[in-house]
Point group: C2
Chain length 251, copies 2
Amino acid sequence: MDKESIIYGKNSITEALLSGNRQINKILISKSSNSDPKIQEIITLARSRGIIFQFVPREKFLIYSELPHQGIIAQISPVKYKELDEFLEDNNGFKSIVILDGVEDPHNVGSIIRTAVCAGYDAIILPSRRNAQVNATVEKASAGAINHIAIIQVNSLSHTIEKLKKHNYWIIAADAKGKDNYFDIDYCNMNFALIMGGEETGVSRNNLNKSDFVVKIPMLRNFNSLNVSNAASAIIYESVRQKLQTTKDSV
Amino acid sequence: MDKESIIYGKNSITEALLSGNRQINKILISKSSNSDPKIQEIITLARSRGIIFQFVPREKFLIYSELPHQGIIAQISPVKYKELDEFLEDNNGFKSIVILDGVEDPHNVGSIIRTAVCAGYDAIILPSRRNAQVNATVEKASAGAINHIAIIQVNSLSHTIEKLKKHNYWIIAADAKGKDNYFDIDYCNMNFALIMGGEETGVSRNNLNKSDFVVKIPMLRNFNSLNVSNAASAIIYESVRQKLQTTKDSV
């Protein structure tokens, strides 16, 4: 958790929860402060807004010992998330999206966002659990790209994928056991969402099953796999290549 | 500097220098130990072998205070570098190489090596100065890929490029101001070396001038550039796509 992207203390966190101006990714509560009535209020508020909170041993707060944290710290996002429904209202042209399904390393999240921005993609979707949230490390790794693309945080990827399909999106999952090579499918003239899975776990079984295509990146040597941000880059830029080369060919 | 990849103390460093069994990337010498005659001997040895040494303030050694370092520490490589000439002796099939020209971040170096291995590339060339060396951080970021590819350390990239050209390699540099899109050139049926430049500086002017092709990655939004390992991935996997799709088409 980056010190730059936290707020602390009972009052400021209550205020942030009430105002809704700050995107709160997670609230950490020292176990020893659990019985505090103000903290109980915060828990109720957080629960009503679907914000994750976690009780942690007092030792976890040692690194914040110079802050008057009162046993409570909230990790806030440097980015203002966009609502999926709002994003889907814009029907202007075909859209390209990256969905992150359990990407835990904030450096990977940041550099995937950076690549998506360079490639002219329209949105990044990430789940509110089991995925690194957009914090200061992600912001830095993205070289500021988080401010150049819609970032959408959702509670359920499964529902999100259903909704995207209803809005005429093709769902493409990247998986080492995929049927097609990623360059053998067509990314042009359609809305699509590319799902990239976590470093260890890959795309979840449930989301693989919902996908229209499961693509693999061919391995030319007997070696495990690419780093997820590099895998994303290969696929994302293949979609760019197809778009630019197709445009040129048809001129 | 990673603790896992160092040796320390006057005798062990002298021995490593004499035996030549360990690849020494850099020797750090505490300024306060400079006048020690044994240290002077080490400096002479290091100089004769072209190994970089650096005088650092005593405080730099504080993190090694639990080691009996005697004011001298050598950063060793976890990998056995291959000689360029030895690599070039193997004429079996077309070769693909990545040259790193000033890539400073060991995570980037590691993940470029990982991508190159996955893509079946044959070697990585890196200069002994102004580029991250293969240390434990690189090893980890490569997910162990450093053991699956020839890694060649050279003193002069300029001479290396000349030599590669004499051995029928095409030199392809990646640069934002490149003339061609990276997917508009042909990577098949030839030896080639792809030069990736440093995070801030890019490929050096001198090496750009020596290149047969300077390729760019198109930016579809007004945003600076990709992370270097993601840029490498896009280009490296384009070469894979061409090879695999061409093979398929010609069957």
